[in-house]
């Protein structure tokens, strides 16, 4: 693994989208929390596979199929290694973080009923909330909500009060897609362990910003999506401890996950196959491995330092606007370069539209976090989210664009 010196401008040259100047303007892409851009090495890995190694996996007996099998298996190993996971069979490929959470909700939820509780939060993305609401509705499982602090963090101090003896699972975000707050995991895990509950973290926002060491985190399940970490759409991961996954029933059936039939009863393969019914997203798994390999060429501390510097600039810049209010922590401890804010008298969509017209790509609205917006009594927010390829010019374009937008809308 070569470690390269960190320079956002050099990195950006690996991304065709920035050379493409879509819309004829320099692109200031600050919508990374919705979807990150894709570097050339990933695009090339996808093209190479689709051009020369396309075949279904699951033990084909011709050279193309052997190559596809090998590449798919290797992708699993690469992803395990990135997460510091020793056993690649703990990596289940899904179509995205949302599919991962639903898979777990159905599999883990199959054994639960009205005497059981799951702890969730209103800070979470719909994708890590609605699956649990559905489970509550279908099986009578009770949901309890971990409170959210005024600055948009999970209030893990309250964890021991909320995570009670009936709690089976704590399913919360590792980092918020709205406030950028990174959850303090240790107290959460301690509170869960104290009552024998398991912990799922939603790492969708965490993966693009540095190293995630799953054994060190001490959680039981983890999920994320490829498209936010410079990889293709249509791929995601559910990680779980081997002994837990092996004990869960598969919620979906199909090819590639059947060991045989006992009469008309299907007998299922062990993890990960048992959870990967049907032809998996082979090319996308290979693309995800290529993206994480690419990301691992950088020093994660360099990425974090660079993103932190820009986030400080951004927060400082926003503070100079009288009408702007940050929705999320203002200090830099345990926060991602995901910055949401409101502008007095201006609707988030109007702000985003005007900045979009200047090549500054933001996202605005409820950000799939309607319960949080309701609690905060907001119609939505404007969100600027950074990745390693952003630089000072992007922050400057946002700030000057905001000045302009406020003038236009006045």
């Amino acid at each position: 693994m070569t470690v390269m010196t960190f320079d956002a401008r050099t990195i950006r040259r690996q991304f065709p989208v920035f050379a493409g100047r879509p819309g004829g303007l320099p692109l200031h892409y600050l919508d990374n929390a919705a979807m990150a851009q894709m570097p050339r090495p990933v695009i090339e890995a996808l093209v190479a596979h689709d051009s020369l190694s396309r075949a279904n996996v699951h033990r084909g007996l011709h050279p193309l199929a052997e190559r596809a099998d090998r590449a798919y298996d290797a992708a699993r190993t690469t992803i395990a290694r990135h997460l510091h996971v020793a056993d690649p069979t703990e990596i289940v490929f899904t179509s995205g973080a949302t599919a991962s959470v639903n898979l777990l909700a159905q599999a883990f939820g199959a054994g639960l009923g009205p005497d059981d509780e799951i702890v969730v939060s209103r800070l979470d993305h719909h994708s890590n909330l609605v699956p649990w609401l559905l489970l509550a509705k279908n099986r009578g499982v009770r949901l309890r909500f971990l409170p959210v602090t005024a600055d948009g963090r999970l209030d893990v101090g309250k964890a021991p009060d909320i995570i009670g003896p009936r709690c089976r699972l704590v399913a919360v975000t590792h980092a918020s897609n709205v406030t950028g707050a990174v959850t303090a995991v240790a107290p959460l895990v301690a509170a869960a362990r104290a009552v024998g509950a398991k912990v799922l973290l939603d790492g969708a926002q965490m993966l693009p910003h540095g190293s995630v060491d799953l054994p060190k985190l001490g959680v039981d399940f983890y999920c994320f999506s490829g498209h936010k970490v410079f990889a293709p759409t249509g791929i995601g991961v559910l990680w779980g401890r081997r002994e837990l996954l092996s004990a869960l029933p598969p919620p979906m059936g199909g090819g590639g996950m059947i060991a045989g039939f006992d009469g008309d009863e299907p007998v299922f393969l062990d993890t990960p196959q048992r959870f990967e019914a049907g032809t998996p997203p082979v090319t996308q798994a290979i693309g995800l491995a290529a993206a994480l390999t690419w990301l691992d060429e950088f020093d994660h501390h360099d990425i974090a330092a660079h993103e932190r510097r820009l986030t400080e600039d951004l927060l400082d810049g926003l503070a100079s606007f009288p009408g702007v209010t940050i929705v999320g922590p203002r200090d830099m401890e345990r926060r991602l370069p995901v910055v949401s804010f409101t502008v007095a008298g201006a609707h988030p969509h109007d702000i985003c539209q005007i900045l979009g017209g200047r090549g500054v790509a933001l996202r605005g609205g409820a950000l799939c976090a309607q319960p949080l917006m309701n609690d905060l009594d907001l119609p939505g927010v404007v969100r600027a989210s950074l990745a390693l390829y952003n630089d000072e010019a992007d922050v400057a374009a946002l700030l000057s664009g905001l000045t302009h937008a406020i003038k236009v809308l006045a």
Binding site: H347, H349, D350, Q370, P379
Partner: protein, 162 residues
């Protein structure tokens, strides 16, 4: 550039906010959400004896385009037969969809000529619903009012949710 949407006329319409607020004695009321952006339009209507629109009031949680549209609509709807609203909405949809329509889109609906101001929105498909949301709520509220009349009940609907 997206700034062309936010020209003086649109901003003035949003600013003046014709019809903003609740209606004392609505005969029909409807709340419609635009789930894709979180916007919400609540519209209340009252009909005159002859069935024309006596009053239209709205409460908008939404963007400038949505507020400008509601404002223009509240002004334009006054005294019209309820069917005119759907006709105007179709003309507006046509204007948003087809940039080549000429200036007289609203020739048949003269009170709606203010909606010419929304012409630049045609380039931003994701914003069309912002402009149309007040119409959709109004049509629903009018249907509710008609139903109430049909039931022979002419009494106000006390804040009935849709």
């Amino acid at each position: 550039m997206s700034d062309d949407i936010y020209h003086a006329k649109i901003k003035a319409l949003a600013q003046v906010a014709h019809g903003a607020g609740p209606l004392a004695e609505p005969q029909g009321r409807a709340v419609i959400d635009n789930p894709l952006c979180g916007d919400r339009a609540s519209v209340s209507v009252a009909l005159a004896e002859d069935g024309t629109i006596a009053a239209l009031a709205h409460e908008i949680r939404g963007c400038l385009l949505c507020r400008a549209s509601a404002s223009a609509l509240a002004e334009a709807a006054q005294g019209l037969a309820p069917e005119r609203i759907a006709e105007a909405r179709r003309a507006l949809e046509h204007l948003l969809r087809d940039p080549e329509t000429t200036g007289d889109t609203f020739a048949a609906q003269p009170t709606f000529t203010d909606f010419e101001a929304f012409r630049p929105v045609h380039r931003h498909k994701s914003r069309h619903d912002c402009v149309l949301l007040p119409f959709r709520a109004t049509e629903k509220a009018l249907a509710e009012a008609a139903r109430q009349r049909g039931l022979g009940r002419n009494d106000p609907v006390a804040g009935a949710p849709s």
